[in-house]
């Protein structure tokens, strides 16, 4: 990669930039960090936090693999093991996978669509703080031996008041509420940003595929997350104030939990996958130096995946004895979703075929993604079959299946995305050499860990067991899986080392080290606080390839206040100007009030009496107008 120094190109008017920098930059110091409303600053800390949770979740998995390495092992007892597997699932689902995808989206989407920030910068900050509070709450509880121990799905009655005494499941319910609030505000954030803040000329059908993916993901979050947020509140009420939602003796229903949970839980998988598909499209285009084949098909596939994912939830409940006919409907729907996923795979392969790929590390991860994801996909078709699923449901076959899907569909594209966008975020390249090692260790490790689990499941090994008897003969394959897990750990360790070393010593990246086509590569690396000195105008799907020289842009945004351009929904015609708020501490205070409310509520209903006024007060502080701008905004006449 030839790194082009940032100053080798002619620059815009220096004074404009200086003033923009003055207006948009974060206040220095710790205070600045706490009050920042910059999507890049928040996106970075979001990504880092999510990666820390990824490592924690991975370590939990490592300890579990150690326990299962041989029959009747004694690394973890049943009580600790149950907390470990629950923490692993919750961490990966709620604290890593969804947040990290959202975080990358929050960082990249404004840059990709030529915006200066997300639509609601303070809400963005609030979302991060709530997410962080939820993660800390869960992990502090875990260290206090109050880690949830009924699985990330926490089926009642096991998770109900009678069979899970103490506060462990309340921690489960409430920490989910934190992360769902964070995910929901981020979804609103992304949708409005994508709808209303696109660069002039970036019509919907010129949006980069990653932006499409984030848009679809945000809509799925918007419609899926309220279900889990609500159902966990119902559970908390059953446990704390003795409601009877799930008590069959008083007209409640254990299956109500499963329906409500999986109506969220299945889209959740696609919420995690969809941004990954977006990453892949971007990397494929750049590394084959041609636009991804079949843009309309790709977009329609994303949309139909998003839509169909809401019709599959019952396939998690095939063993509950629902009527056969209804189940076949869900089999059909589950199989149907394979088609749009398949179309995307075929389009990428066609694109690679037509181009001349460069085998950079991001591209390696894309190849790895296709292999692992396709294996997870075909086993997904198998478990969509009612009869077959009733055999392998809740066995290690399913464990193998969804790890293939999630690691293939989310972790590999994510790591590819890291190698791809790291230069943009930090200004430095990650080491390709370490990257190759990282890739191959992970690729071999993941397959070694999870492939034997298919066989274990068919042999009858159930999920969520803390041990197994020697006589079952499951020992050797489990040992193999544990060896694979060691490789995965080493692979992830290499990645961490690569990031740590490259942050300081990596080669300078320049604006556009890969020769890519989307707008984020038009600004410097790392981008300035205001992203673009002039908002670019877009005339096609690959603006940087279509405009090799100067980019067209608009002028007229004020540089002394945080002006952003609002465009129309479909055609992205400039429509109005909007002023963004300066840095503020209120989102953090509101998040603290939220935390006080949620945490005290699981100990006493009086928590509402303490927490609600605090929350309303902080919201008032947030919403109350500060720093009136007398120059621009016409004061409304004070009519008597």
């Amino acid at each position: 990669m030839t790194a082009i120094p940032a100053d080798a190109r002619p620059t815009d008017d220096e004074s404009v930039r200086r003033q923009l920098d003055e207006t948009w930059r974060q206040t220095p110091g710790l205070w600045g960090w706490l009050t920042s409303v910059d999507h890049k600053s928040i996106g970075k800390r979001y990504i880092v936090t999510a990666m820390v949770f990824f490592v924690l979740g991975g370590l939990e998995a490592g300890v579990m693999r150690a326990q299962l390495a041989r029959p009747e092992n004694s690394v973890l007892g049943p009580d600790a093991y149950n907390q470990f597997f629950t923490m692993h699932g919750m961490t990966m689902m709620f604290l890593f996978a969804v947040p990290v995808m959202t975080a990358v989206g929050l960082y990249l989407v404004p840059l990709m669509i030529g915006a200066r920030n997300v639509a609601f910068p303070r809400l963005n900050a609030y979302g991060y703080w709530v997410y962080l509070a939820g993660g800390l709450f869960l992990y502090i509880s875990f260290f206090l031996n109050t880690g949830p121990d009924t699985g990330w799905f926490s089926y009642v009655p096991l998770a109900g008041p009678e069979f899970s005494p103490g506060k462990r499941v309340d921690v489960y319910a409430q920490s989910i509420t934190f992360t769902e609030i964070a995910a929901l505000v981020a979804a609103v954030e992304l949708i409005v940003t994508i709808f209303k803040n696109r660069a002039p000329g970036m019509t919907l059908n010129r949006m980069p595929l990653f932006v499409w993916a984030m848009l679809v993901q945000a809509f799925m979050v918007l419609f899926a997350m309220p279900w889990v947020a609500t159902v966990t509140q119902l559970l908390a009420m059953d446990r704390l104030v003795a409601t009877h939602f799930f008590n069959p003796a008083e007209g409640g229903d254990a299956l109500l939990w499963q329906h409500l949970f999986w109506f969220f839980g299945h889209p959740e998988v696609y919420i995690i996958l969809t941004p990954g598909l977006g990453f892949v499209s971007m990397i494929v285009a750049t590394f084959t130096r041609r636009p991804v084949y079949g843009y309309p098909a790709m977009v329609l596939s994303l949309l139909s995946v998003g839509f169909l994912s809401f019709g599959l939830w019952v396939h998690h409940m095939f063993a509950t004895g629902l009527p056969q006919l209804g189940q076949s409907f869900f089999t059909a729907a589950s199989m149907m979703i394979t088609i749009p996923s398949g179309i995307q795979i075929f389009c990428w392969i066609a694109t690679i075929w037509a181009g001349r790929p460069r085998f950079g590390v991001p591209f390696l991860f894309v190849l790895g993604f296709v292999v692992i994801f396709v294996i997870g996909g075909v086993t997904g078709v198998m478990v969509a079959s009612v009869a077959f699923d009733q055999q392998v449901h809740d066995s290690y076959f399913v464990v193998a299946h969804f790890h293939y899907v999630l690691i293939g569909g989310a972790v590999f594209p994510l790591l590819g995305a890291f190698y791809y966008w790291f230069p943009k975020i930090t200004g430095r390249m990650l080491s390709e050499r370490l990257g190759r090692w990282n890739f191959w260790l992970l690729f071999v490790g993941v397959n070694l860990t999870f492939f034997p689990m298919h066989q274990l499941g068919l042999e009858g090994m159930p999920r969520r067991v803390y041990t197994y008897l020697a006589g079952t003969g499951w020992g050797p394959l489990n040992l193999l899986a544990t060896i694979g897990a060691v490789l995965v750990v080493v692979g992830v360790l290499l990645f961490v080392i690569n990031v740590a070393v490259s942050l300081r010593r990596g080669a300078l990246a320049g604006d556009d080290p890969w020769g890519a086509d989307t707008l984020e590569w038009a600004t410097s690396s790392p981008p300035p606080p205001y992203n673009f000195a002039h908002i670019p105008v877009v005339e096609g799907r690959a603006p940087l390839w279509e405009q090799p020289g100067e980019l067209p842009a608009v002028s007229g945004l004020r540089t002394d206040v945080r002006d952003v351009l609002v465009t129309t929904l479909l055609d992205a015609r400039p429509d109005s100007l909007h002023r963004h708020p300066p840095p503020t501490i209120w989102p953090l205070l509101t998040a603290i009030a939220t935390t006080i409310l949620f945490v005290t509520l699981i100990f006493t209903p009086w928590g509402a009496v303490i927490g609600t006024p605090l929350l309303l007060l902080t919201l008032l502080g947030w919403g109350w107008p500060h720093g009136r701008d007398h120059q621009e905004q016409r004061m409304v006449e004070q009519t008597g």
Binding site: P71, P78, A254, W353, V374, Q390, Q391, G460, P462, L469
Partner: protein, 325 residues
């Protein structure tokens, strides 16, 4: 190792890959067909990917001309079409298998009620006359070649009944009665395990299904209906007294005696069973003793408490329990 059955035997006795009923055989055929197709699909996709990626490693810069569009379009459409066809065939196959394994078992079927408890299985053979009921635990005997309908219940949390050689699983949900049926093809001892996470000892909540010829089964059932034998030798008689005076009697039933509690497994014919602690230990004298003294060492979290009995008491108690054939 606790399970002293030869390990290969158990492997064969607890796997969906060794079908022992028409139900599982059908599902196995479906699974095999899907597996083979899936493997072929995977290999084709990988081959296409590798070819696409590697074919021009050392070629010239690609020419972005219209000639590429046509083959790409054809290939993508073809692949999508093939995918759709495969899925459609799978769907038909799945629905037909689903219908066959859920057909009506017929009137001749044997009814067995299996109730999941944390962490053991209560097994009840019901009859129109309640005196003919037989209750046992963790070991289900079925006649070969006759449909058996299982009434699946739970009194605490959700469990899932899964003998992989004989039947796909079905959840036992409190408040929602479920059922399934299968028919064992050949005599043998099969193993099953709870498949829905149910708390601390989900891992050690197994059971055996003993499929035997009809006459043998009827003989077994008749013996299970009997009340417990009254011990004859003095040690066992003393053991019975220990049982009735100690904490055992609070949770366990032995028919024909004053012990009638249904909290733990029915022990009327304990000694006739092959395993202890829900398929965890072979039913030997040593294991039984160890289990009574400290069940928490074998299944941490299990509901049975460690028992403080003196040496002679324990000896007598075990001797008594061993008479419960």
């Amino acid at each position: 190792m606790p399970l002293t059955l030869a390990s290969t035997l158990v492997q064969q006795a607890h796997t969906s890959l060794n079908p022992a009923s028409p139900q599982v055989r059908l599902v196995d055929q479906l699974g095999t067909a899907m597996f083979v197709t899936a493997a072929v699909v995977c290999l084709l996709v990988f081959a296409a990917l590798l070819w696409a990626a590697l074919r021009r490693r050392s070629g010239a810069e690609p020419v972005a001309d219209g000639r590429q569009e046509r083959p790409m379009k054809t290939a993508v459409l073809l692949a999508t079409g093939v995918t759709t066809v495969i899925l459609f065939v799978f769907l038909i196959f799945d629905v037909s298998v689903g219908r066959s394994i859920t057909t009506n078992p017929g009137n001749d079927a044997l009814q067995i009620r299996v109730t999941g408890h944390q962490w053991w299985w209560e097994v009840q053979y019901r009859d129109s006359l309640p005196k003919n009921w037989a209750t046992t635990a963790n070991e289900i005997h079925v006649p070969v070649g006759r449909p058996v309908v299982f009434e699946l219940r739970s009194t605490d949390v959700i469990h899932s009944f899964w003998p992989p050689n004989l039947s796909p699983k079905r959840d036992q949900i409190p408040g929602n009665e479920n059922s399934l049926w299968f028919q064992a093809d050949s005599a043998g001892v099969y193993r099953g395990q709870c498949a829905e996470f149910c708390g601390h000892q989900h891992a050690k909540m197994a059971f055996l299904v003993v499929a035997e010829p009809a006459d043998q089964f009827e003989g077994w059932l008749a013996r299970q209906r009997d009340t417990a034998q009254t011990p004859t030798d003095s040690l066992a008689r003393r053991g019975k007294d220990v049982f009735m005076a100690a904490s055992c009697v609070m949770c366990h039933a032995i028919s024909g005696t004053s012990a009638g509690s249904r909290i733990g497994p029915d022990l009327t014919h304990l000694a006739s069973r092959r395993t202890l602690a829900a398929g965890t230990l072979p039913n030997t004298r040593e294991n039984l003793t160890g289990w009574i003294v400290d069940p928490q060492a074998i299944k941490p979290g299990v509901k049975m408490p460690p028992n403080q009995l003196s040496g002679p008491e324990l000896l007598a108690l075990v001797a008594y329990l061993e008479t419960l054939k």
